[in-house]
Structures are given as structure tokens and as C-alpha cells.
């Protein structure tokens, strides 16, 4: 099983805070890998909010190809973070040339583009780089997006974090998501490692998505280039969220209605019965069958947690105003935020979405039985 930990804090925090929480929960994961998503950044990268940041792993040859490619488009390096790694990696961690985190200036020719077009081009640039990397075996690309850093590597989370010296100011962030364990269902592949990211949306999942194949078939046939990959059955959760927000124009409150729609008897008394029935029928192919606990981050830096209909996976949200954490297990939460009112800890059940927005003042709970706020 995977273990997940996410935190959202008023003050930028070191990613080590999340990695240590994973270490506390180590009985629940096999230490085969770690994935990190950092956003709402502190440090120097936090000051360049609009600049897209490229995260990935490169060989020296890959770096050359990357520079050539980016210069060709017109991207100029704005800020480069170098991770000086010891010569020999600890056991279980492969030797890499470069862990890259680099902010770029947009090409001049992109000036004046609409936000939508800009977002699309960033996505396409990432996908092109990913494809180049897959062909040459010299680059692994995690994200290319403003205010987002991602890092994934094989090996025990704490060992990897110490090896990469993650406890540094440049990596401090207000939103941190961390997952421990490589995906073991399919071949070991860093693209199968959580969290997954697409155009400002990230999610990570605990559990196995038994409805994976039909969902993958549905998403892959939407004609949207970002719906690809699927080295892990959990990647679809990120994409379903993207589909809900971007293609359907609905909010996070609707996400549960897409992945685990209400049963008919519950639908009957619901204030938006008609809408929910329409959603249930037309999005039937996106219904997950769990068991899954999903923790994700929205483009507005809100963090959320949902469970599938069976609610067979652990997950708890707790904290205090200014600092909240989402954790697979209470021991992870206890280790990170011991000073909190534990009575207010919340374990989302089969109807709930737990949300902490970027104000970080409270945990908002919305139930599927509540009226669904609709965008006007």
C-alpha cells in the first residue's frame, strides 16, 4: 500500500516535513520510491510566480538536448537550482547526472497569448520533452508549470530526501504533497510514481483502481493530448479532475459526483436530482470502483481529500488555522502537527470531500447529499 501525506501552510515549509511524516508511516509502505509535489513556493522560485518551472531528471546528454530544444522555442533560463549530489547514491537509488529544477522566461513570441493558449503550449512543450526523453532514454519530465516543482525517485523516501538534500530554502513551499512507494502494479517506472500532474492539477492516490481500463479508454479517446501516460492506474484520478474542472466547467464539489455518483435512492431527494442524474449517466465511464483515497491540489492551491464509495482506505485531515495536513494515517499527522485539536480531525467517508483552501483557516467538508454549488 502507498502512504500519502500533504500539507498546506501559511509559512513555507521544508519538504522534509512531509518526508518525515512518510517515514513515521513507514510500516504502511515498502520504501520503494518517493514522489513530491511542491507549490505556492517560498524561496527565490516563489518570487517568480509566472515563470514556468521545469522539473525532471536528465543525463548529461539529455541536458544538451534540452537546452537545444528550449532555445529553439525561445525559452530563456531565468533561474536554475542546482542539486549537487554525492558521487555514489545510497543503496536502492539509481545514479543520475542531473536533477533539474529550472525556471524559464516565456518566449517573446508567446507574448499576448490567451491564458488558455499559454496553458496548452506549456502542456505540449512538456509532452514533447517527455517524448524526446522516452526516445533517447535521457530525460524524465515531471512538470513544466509556473509555481510547481516535482521530484520523484526510486528508493526509501527519507534516504532519497537526505541524499538530494531537500532540506533547503529554495525548496520550501506552502503546499507540499508526498507519496511513499513506487507503483508496484506495473513495471517500475518513474512515470508511474505519484503525484501526477496536469495543467496545475495534481493528485496522488492510495489503493487500486479496479475500473482503470475502461476509464483509461474513455480519457484516451477525448482527443486531449494531456490525457496520456497511464503507467499507473492512479493517473486517471488527476485526469478525471482535470476533465471535471476544465471540460465540464464544474468545481471540486462535483468531483465526487463524477467518480462515485450517489445511488438512486439518495439521488431521489437531492435538490439537484436532474443534474446529478445527467452527470451520473453521461460520466458513467468515469465511475471509479476503488478502493482509493485521493489527495489532490487544485490550481488555486486548495488541497482536498476524497474516498471512494467503499471507503476502504485510511485518510485523515487535521491541523490548526495556518497549517493543515492530509495524511494516510493519524501517526503521520501527529508527528507533523502535534499541537492541534485532535477532536477536529476528520476522516472523510464515502460521501465527503474535505477541502482546505489557500486561506488555510478551516477544513471545509462538503457532502454529496448537499446542494452542489454551480459556477455562474
Amino acid at each position: 500500500m502507498c502512504r500519502l501525506f500533504a500539507l498546506t501552510s501559511e509559512e513555507p515549509q521544508s519538504p522534509m516535513m512531509a518526508v518525515r511524516a512518510l517515514d513515521v508511516m513507514r510500516e504502511g509502505h515498502d520504501g520503494s520510491g518517493v514522489g513530491l509535489f511542491l507549490s505556492d513556493l517560498g524561496g527565490p522560485l516563489g518570487e517568480m510566480k509566472g515563470a514556468p518551472i521545469l522539473s525532471g531528471i536528465f543525463s548529461n546528454e539529455g541536458m544538451k538536448r534540452l537546452d537545444q530544444f528550449m532555445i529553439g522555442i525561445g525559452f530563456m533560463t531565468k533561474y536554475k537550482m542546482s542539486i549537487k549530489i554525492p558521487k555514489s547514491p545510497p543503496p536502492g537509488v539509481p545514479k543520475r547526472d542531473v536533477y533539474l529544477i529550472r525556471a524559464y522566461e516565456y518566449p517573446e513570441t508567446w507574448e499576448g497569448l490567451s491564458q488558455e493558449e499559454l496553458d496548452y503550449r506549456l502542456l505540449m512543450t512538456r509532452l514533447q520533452l517527455r517524448q524526446m526523453g522516452e526516445e533517447g532514454g535521457d530525460m524524465i519530465i515531471y512538470s513544466f508549470w509556473p509555481d510547481v516543482i516535482m521530484l520523484k525517485e526510486l528508493g526509501d523516501p527519507l534516504t532519497v530526501a537526505e541524499y538530494l538534500q531537500l532540506d533547503r530554502k529554495e525548496l520550501q513551499a506552502r503546499v507540499i504533497m508526498a507519496q511513499g512507494r513506487q507503483n508496484t502494479n506495473y513495471a517500475i517506472n518513474l512515470y508511474a510514481c505519484h503525484p501526477f500532474f496536469l495543467q496545475g492539477i495534481a493528485s496522488m492516490t492510495n489503493g487500486e483502481n479496479t475500473a482503470f481500463v475502461p476509464i483509461r479508454e474513455f480519457l484516451s479517446s477525448r482527443g486531449f493530448p494531456g490525457y496520456m501516460g497511464y503507467q499507473s492506474d492512479s493517473e486517471v484520478f488527476t485526469h478525471i479532475l482535470h476533465f471535471t474542472l476544465h471540460r465540464l466547467g464544474l468545481g471540486i464539489e462535483a468531483y465526487k459526483h463524477i467518480i462515485t455518483p450517489l445511488q438512486d435512492e439518495d439521488l431521489k431527494g437531492h435538490p439537484q436530482e436532474g443534474l446529478l442524474k445527467t452527470l451520473k449517466q453521461s460520466c458513467r465511464r468515469l465511475i471509479i470502483d476503488g478502493p482509493n483515497c485521493v489527495i489532490g491540489c487544485l490550481p488555486d492551491k486548495s488541497l482536498f481529500m476524497v474516498q471512494d464509495r467503499k471507503k476502504l482506505r485510511p485518510g485523515v485531515v487535521g491541523g490548526r488555522p495556518g497549517l493543515y495536513a492530509f495524511s494516510s494515517e493519524i501517526c503521520g499527522l501527529d508527528a507533523t502537527i502535534p499541537q492541534r485539536n485532535k477532536n477536529e480531525d476528520f476522516q472523510p467517508m464515502h460521501l465527503d470531500t474535505a477541502l482546505v483552501d489557500s486561506e488555510r483557516l478551516e477544513v471545509k467538508i462538503c457532502s454529496q447529499m448537499d446542494s452542489l454549488p454551480l459556477p455562474h
Partner: protein, 552 residues
């Protein structure tokens, strides 16, 4: 025949017949029930002459010594060998025999009868099924396994106690973006029904006896109203009894319109009196058992009641044309027919075509994806059954359902329209009695709904048909169980109440078995349509063809 007599080409011995009757003289009470009940009159009274040879006491011959040879006679039954009266193996004689002294047995070699069933130039005509005796190999659907068992990475579910929502949708489902748009604009969206994924396929009022029809309808109503299972039944081509058309039970019924339009006069006249809309309308363009051939109700079965409902004279054969006479192109005429049927119920009832399994199914499907009114596509494979057809059609024409369905589903995936046009698969599900496993396999290959007919006849009414060419006389209305007979002396044998009970039994046990399949796969929240990663087969070619795993 005498040893020096002569034979005609069709002089057959009992050995040449497909079914041979063994009769035990010692146990027979000569009650005559077997001969009375035999639907094909193969049994006749036999008077047998028998010579007894005894050896007299030759040491003291007297004039009173009995003769060395004594002739005796005894009575019993004799099996006719005229092909017109050949035993069909139904074993109704065994059913009625008080002393269990009679039973038909299948011949141990290929019978000679098959070369002589075309007397008068009439090609063999029968009811039943394809008679492909591959039960020993299990048939393709039976060979499919479900190897993706939830083990330690995700818990398997408890089939007995977990909540399951195993429902399917019938009707055109719009892509999410469009359906939300229409919802907000309060525009028309195609009607969609939420139904149980096992549907009773089209068996007409006419093909089935009134008692059988009534029994199934009662069972379906009970399942809906007492058990909360939205089971639907298709009428087949033969209309619908007027009282049912005007009842609230119509909502459980899918009305079929086929190329003979039988019964539609009655249906159209009932339109203003309908309390409920029917579940859907099925336009039959083809049937798996006799693809490319129209429906057929032979004159034996067209009694007054059937004739009245169908709007035809009694006592004439009713062959439907192989195609709808107004159809010259799918682009225009089929689309128009679908729309006309929608119009009849104010665009509130889904309308979908049914075709027989064919290698041209993809062309039909591709066209339907561009027709926003097409509510589904039903495909009926070659193993489907029928009340009457030419044997050659049943035996050799058609397409197996598995690969036909899979091609269609994968094509929809390519177009991004999977489940928007639900695929309804039929023809062979439960052929060897494994209905739930076959249905689950079809669902995971891409079917939204599975249709079954023969299984219901066998399980709910005791049809004795088998893949060994047993009985198969549905066409001439002599069904010994009264399932497909229109003769009240025969169909009174069948108690509709008991049929209804059995329909309920079948569905409840099917439901348990389906849960026993999906629960270990970790599925409960939705029907696992297209979950092909859960399927495997130990036949490499089949695995490749169906794009599922190969396991040994």
C-alpha cells in the same frame, strides 16, 4: 421388410434414426400413455409374434405331447422409421411412463435420417438452436476466465453482504459536455432507461404459447415490483396482447417492430390508451439464429388469437421479409424509421436497432454513431435460438457474438463513444447453462446489456432442447412442454404461475452469481463494462482476436 423384399431410398431402420427408443417389455404395463403423448406420433401399438421352440420328451412320445414350435404374440410399442414420424428425442414418453420403461437414446453414429428430411423437396425446417455440440470443449464464452482477482493490493468484496449497483443504461447517452449543455439549456436529451443488465430477448406472442408469455410477463413484473430489479423483456415480432398494452406493466416491455410489422396495427391503436410508455422500441433488422432471413411463424401456430393480434387470417404461415421493404439505405431510411418510432411516443422512448451478428456490423455501428437518435445497437450472435427457421440458416449462417461484440466495442473506444451507444449482446449466453459467467464475459468484452431467450425457456419452463438436435419442434406448435404450442390441449400443461416463479428464481440466482464474479474483481459501484483486463482465455488465437490475456 422381408429379406427378399425391396427398399425405397428412404427406407430407414431404427438404427438409422437420430433417436432410438428403448422399451422394456417386462416393466411395461401397456397403459398407452407414451403413444398418446408422443408429439410426432413415432410410437404406435406393436403386436409382436414370437416363436418358442421347446423340446418334447422324445422317450415317451404321446399324441398329447406339445409341438416343438409354439407361436405366441405379445403387445407393446413400435418405433416408426418413416422420416416424417422420426423420434425427436423429447423424452415426453419417459416423462409420462409410470414404470420408467421407455426412453429415447441418441444414435452412436451420424444418423442417416438427415439425408431424408427433405421429402417433397422441402428443406428441413425446425426450431431451436444451432446444435453445435461443443459443450465438451466448453464453447468460447465458457472458456473465458476471470483471472484478475483482488488479492492483497485491494480487498476482494463480499458478494453476499456488500452493496452492489449492477445496473445498465439503455438509450443514447450524450458525451458529458453535451449532456451538461443541454441540461442547462433545458434542451431535449435522448431518453435513457436504467435497467438490469440481463434482458429477456425477443420471443414473440405466437412463437410462445399464451401460458408461457403470461408466465414470463408475470415473473418480470414481480422482479420489478417486489424485488426491485429493473428487468426488461422484449416482445419479439408479434405484437403485444391488448390488455398488456393498456396496463402499467408496459413499462417493463420493449416493443419489437420487424419487417412483417405484425401486431403494430394493434399497438398503434392502443397508443392513446397507454398508461405508461414502453421501455423501448427494438427495430429488428436481423436475428442471430437465421441471419438475413425474416421471422417465421408457421401455419400450425397461427390460431384465431394469434391471427387477431397480428391482424392476419388464421391458419396461414407468416414469413416476414428478410428486410424492411422501405429500407434502401441506412443513412436515410433507417435513420428515418428510428425517428418515426421516436415520434410515436413523443421522443420519450429509446429506439434501437437489432442486427444479427455479421462481419458488416462495424459499418452499421459507425453509421449509428452519427445518428443522434440511435438508442443502442443489439447484436445477436449465431448461437441465438428461434421458433422456426431453415436448418441450414441455423447451422451455418451468422457470426459468433464474442468477436463481433469486441470489434464493435473497440471501434467505439477508438471513436471515443464507448457506452454512448450501448451494445446489447445476445446469442449463446448460457448455451451450456453458464449464464452468469457468459454474461459477465460479454459485459467485460464491452456489452452494456446481455439478451437471453433460450436459457429462460429452459430454466423457466423446462424446454428440453439441447445442442444434440433434441426436440426442436417449436416450429410446428407441438412443443411437449407447452412452451411454444398454440394448441390449448398442449399448452395447458404449462402453469403460468410456476413459470413466473421460475423466472424469478433464474434472476435471483443469476444476480448472486454475477456478484460472485464481480466481487472478487473488486467491482461493485458500477457494472464493469469493457473491463477487459479482468478476462483471459487459454487459447492464444482467441486471446489475440479478443485483445484479452492469454493464460495457460
Amino acid at each position: 421388410m422381408l429379406s427378399n423384399g425391396f427398399t425405397t431410398p428412404s427406407s430407414l431402420s431404427v438404427k438409422d434414426l437420430p433417436w432410438q427408443i428403448r422399451w422394456e417389455k417386462d416393466k411395461c404395463s401397456l397403459c398407452g400413455r407414451c403413444a398418446a403423448v408422443c408429439p410426432v406420433h413415432t410410437l404406435e401399438l406393436g403386436v409382436f409374434r414370437k416363436r418358442l421352440v421347446s423340446t418334447p420328451d422324445l422317450s415317451q412320445p404321446t399324441p398329447d405331447s406339445p409341438p416343438a414350435t409354439v407361436y405366441q404374440t405379445y403387445q407393446g410399442i413400435r418405433q416408426k422409421t418413416d422420416p416424417a414420424y422420426a423420434c425427436v428425442g423429447c423424452a415426453t414418453c419417459s416423462l409420462v411412463c409410470p414404470n420408467d420403461c421407455i426412453m429415447p437414446f441418441r444414435t452412436d453414429e451420424t444418423d442417416k435420417f438427415r439425408f431424408h428430411v427433405n421429402r417433397g423437396g422441402q428443406a428441413r425446417n425446425r426450431g431451436g438452436r444451432r446444435n453445435a455440440p461443443d459443450a465438451a470443449q466448453g464453447g468460447l464464452l465458457d472458456q473465458i476466465k476471470f483471472p484478475r482477482i483482488s488479492m492483497l493490493t485491494d480487498p476482494a468484496l463480499d458478494a453476499g453482504r456488500h452493496e452492489f449497483e449492477l445496473r445498465s443504461l439503455l438509450g443514447r447517452i450524450l458525451p458529458p459536455e453535451e449532456s451538461l449543455k443541454f441540461f442547462h439549456e433545458q434542451g431535449w436529451t435522448p431518453p435513457v432507461r436504467e435497467i438490469y443488465p440481463l434482458m429477456i430477448g425477443g420471443m414473440s406472442f405466437g412463437a410462445l404459447s399464451p401460458n408461457m408469455w403470461e408466465g414470463i410477463q408475470m415473473g418480470v413484473s414481480y422482479l420489478n415490483e417486489e424485488m426491485g430489479m429493473p428487468v426488461r423483456i422484449c416482445t419479439g415480432e408479434g405484437g403485444c396482447p391488448p390488455r398488456l398494452l393498456r396496463s402499467r406493466f408496459l413499462k417493463y416491455v420493449i416493443l419489437q417492430i420487424a419487417s412483417g410489422y405484425f401486431g403494430w396495427d394493434e399497438i398503434i391503436h392502443a397508443l392513446p390508451h397507454m398508461k405508461e410508455d414502453p421501455c423501448a422500441v427494438e427495430i429488428k433488422y436481423g436475428q442471430g439464429a437465421k441471419p438475413g432471413d425474416g421471422g417465421l411463424l408457421m401455419w400450425y401456430k397461427v390460431n384465431k388469437l394469434i391471427a387477431a393480434i397480428r391482424g392476419v387470417p388464421a391458419g396461414v404461415s407468416l414469413p416476414s421479409p428478410p428486410t424492411h421493404q422501405t429500407k434502401y439505405s441506412i443513412e436515410e431510411a433507417v435513420a428515418k424509421m428510428i425517428q418515426s418510432m421516436y415520434m410515436a411516443w413523443g421522443f420519450r422512448v429509446p429506439v434501437y436497432p437489432k442486427i444479427s451478428g455479421t462481419s458488416t456490423a462495424l459499418a452499421v455501428l459507425n453509421n449509428l454513431t452519427r445518428n443522434p437518435y440511435a438508442g443502442a445497437l443489439a447484436i445477436d450472435g449465431e448461437d441465438g435460438g428461434t421458433g422456426a427457421a431453415y436448418a441450414v440458416s441455423m447451422d451455418h449462417m451468422g457470426h459468433p457474438i464474442a468477436s463481433n461484440l469486441r470489434d464493435c466495442y473497440l471501434n467505439l473506444v477508438k471513436l471515443g463513444r464507448q457506452n454512448e451507444i450501448p451494445l446489447i449482446a445476445g446469442g449463446g449466453a448460457g448455451k451450456n447453462g453458464k449464464l452468469a459467467a457468459n454474461a459477465a464475459a460479454l459485459i467485460m468484452l464491452g456489452a452494456s446489456v446481455v439478451q437471453t431467450g433460450k436459457y429462460i425457456m429452459q430454466a423457466a419452463a423446462g424446454c428440453v432442447g439441447s445442442e444434440a438436435d433434441r426436440c426442436n419442434i417449436c416450429n410446428i406448435g407441438l412443443c411437449p412442454k407447452g412452451i411454444t404450442s398454440q394448441d390449448s390441449r398442449i399448452y395447458r400443461r404449462l402453469d403460468p404461475e410456476k413459470v413466473a416463479e421460475r423466472v424469478v428464481d433464474v434472476y435471483l440466482s443469476f444476480d448472486t452469481e454475477l456478484k460472485k464474479i464481480v466481487a472478487p474483481l473488486g467491482r461493485s459501484t458500477s457494472l464493469p463494462i469493457g473491463m477487459s483486463d479482468a478476462l483471459a482465455i487459454n487459447d492464444k488465437a482467441a486471446a489475440e482476436r479478443l485483445d484479452i490475456d492469454y493464460v495457460v
